[in-house]
Amino acid sequence: MKKSICVLFVFWHLFVLWSMTGCWNFREIRDLAIVIGASFDKKDDQIYLTVEVLSPKGGEQEQGATGSLGITPQLFEGSGKTVFEAVRNMISKAGRKLYWSHARVFIVSEDVAKEGIIQIIDWINRDAEVRPQTWILVSKGQAAGDILRTQSKLFDTVSMQIDTLLRNQGNSGKLLGVTVGDFLEEMQKPGVGAVAPIIESVKDGREQIPQVKGSALFKGEKLVGFLDGEETMYLLFLRNQMKKGTLIAVTAQQPKANVSLEIFRSHTTKTVRLVDDRPVVDIWVDCLSGIAEISEENDVISERGSQKLTERTNKELRNKITDTIKKVQNEYGTDVFGFGNLIYRERPDLWETIPKGGWAKVFPTVDTNVNVNIMMRGSAKLSEPTRIGE
C-alpha cells in the first residue's frame, strides 16, 4: 500500500513539474519558419545571409495553387559580423523562429569562399539543429542571394530544385554534389582538397533560373579555382564517383563523326608506386558503356568498328583526363583527386617523408599514368547506324 502511495506521489509530482515549468523544448509547429535554403554573401566585413523560408502562413494565400505544396517561399535577409549574429538578427524580421533542420542547400558566394569558408562550415557542424547532410554550393560570379531569387519552373522552391538535382546528380555527369559533412571531412583529411559544385543563375527564356554545373576547387578553406562541366566529368572519373547513366560524347577528327556513349558502370582504381624516389600514380578507369547515339554513317557496331571506336574513346578519354590533372596541378595546385590521401593510405611510410604541409609543393610534380579501358556493350534498340537511303 505504502509503495503505491509513493508511486502516486511521483506521478502527481511529475504533473506538477510539467505544469509549473512548462515544456522547455516545446515548439509549436505553426510557429516555425522552416528554412529550406540559405545563402551567404560578404560585403564590408559583414555577412549577408539570405534564407528561403517555408511557412504555412504563405499557404493560405496560395490556396488552390497547382504547386505540390501550394506554398510560395519567402525570402529574408539579415546581416551581422558572424553567421550566428546574422541568424539572430533575422529573427526580428521573420517574426518566427528560424528552424534549420529541414535546410537543403547552403550557397556560398565566390567572394566568401575566396576569403575562407571555415566560419560557415563550423557553424553548420556545431549547431545541433543544422544538419551536416545539407548540400553546399558555390555561386560563381554572382551574389549567392541572387541564386535564391531566381525562379524555379518545375519545383516549389529553388532550394528544392537544387536538392533534387544534386540527389540524382543528373545524368549529365557534369556536377558533383557535396554535403557539408563530406566537405568538412575532405577539408580535414590529409592529402585531399575539397570540392563543391558551382551554381549560377542563367537566363532561360524570360526567367532567370538556377543552373548547377562544374565544380569549385578549394585549397584548405579557400577557393582557388573552378573546373567547367566537362572537366568536372573527368574529375568524377578520377574520384571514382562516376554514376551510371551518364552520357559522354566522343568526337573524332572528321566532321559528322560523333558517337554518344552511355555509361553503365564505371570503376576507377588508383595505385601509387615509386619511380626514382618520386611517387607516380597509376590510374585505371574501367568503364562499361553502350552506344546511345550515332551521328555518322560509319559502322561502329560490328566487331571491327566497335574495336576502332573503343580505341578512339580510350585515347580521347585518357588525353582529357590527363589534361585535367595537368590543369589542376599547374594552375590551382590543390589535390582534389586525393593523390596525397592515396599515398597516406597505401604508403604511410612515404607520406611521412613529406614534411608537414609540404604536400602542396609536391603535388604539382606528381606524375600520373592514366589507363582507360572502355568495354562496349549493346547499342540500345538499334543494331545498326541509321542509314540514309539512296
Binding site: 505504502k2 502511495i5 509513493c6 506521489f9 509530482h13 513539474l17 509549473m20 515549468t21 522547455w24
Partner: protein
C-alpha cells in the same frame, strides 16, 4: 551551474530544485515513518543521516549560482585537469 542568462531560466532552475526537494521529502517522510514503525532504529538513523544532507545540498545548490563542479574542485586539489 551554468550562469543564468535571464530571470526565467533562474526560475526554471529554482522550480525543479523545489520539485526535487519536495519529492524526496515526501519519500523520506513516508519511508522514515515506515522504518520507525518497523522498529528498525539503525536503518532509520542511516536513512536520515543520508537523506538530510542530500536535502540540504539540494537547497544549497538551488540558491547558488556558478558553483564550481566537483570535477573542477578535485582537479584543483590534485592538479589532474589541465584547466
Amino acid at each position: 551551474m551554468p550562469s543564468f542568462q535571464n530571470r526565467q531560466e533562474l526560475v526554471n532552475e529554482l522550480e525543479y530544485h523545489y520539485f526535487i526537494f519536495l519529492l524526496f521529502s515526501i519519500f523520506g517522510i513516508v519511508e522514515a515513518i515506515q522504518l520507525y514503525h518497523q522498529k528498525q532504529r539503525k536503518e532509520l538513523t542511516i536513512y536520515l543521516f543520508l537523506l538530510l544532507p542530500g536535502l540540504v545540498i539540494t537547497v544549497y545548490t538551488a540558491t547558488q549560482v556558478g558553483l564550481p563542479s566537483i570535477a573542477e574542485e578535485l582537479g584543483s586539489w590534485f592538479g589532474w585537469m589541465s584547466q
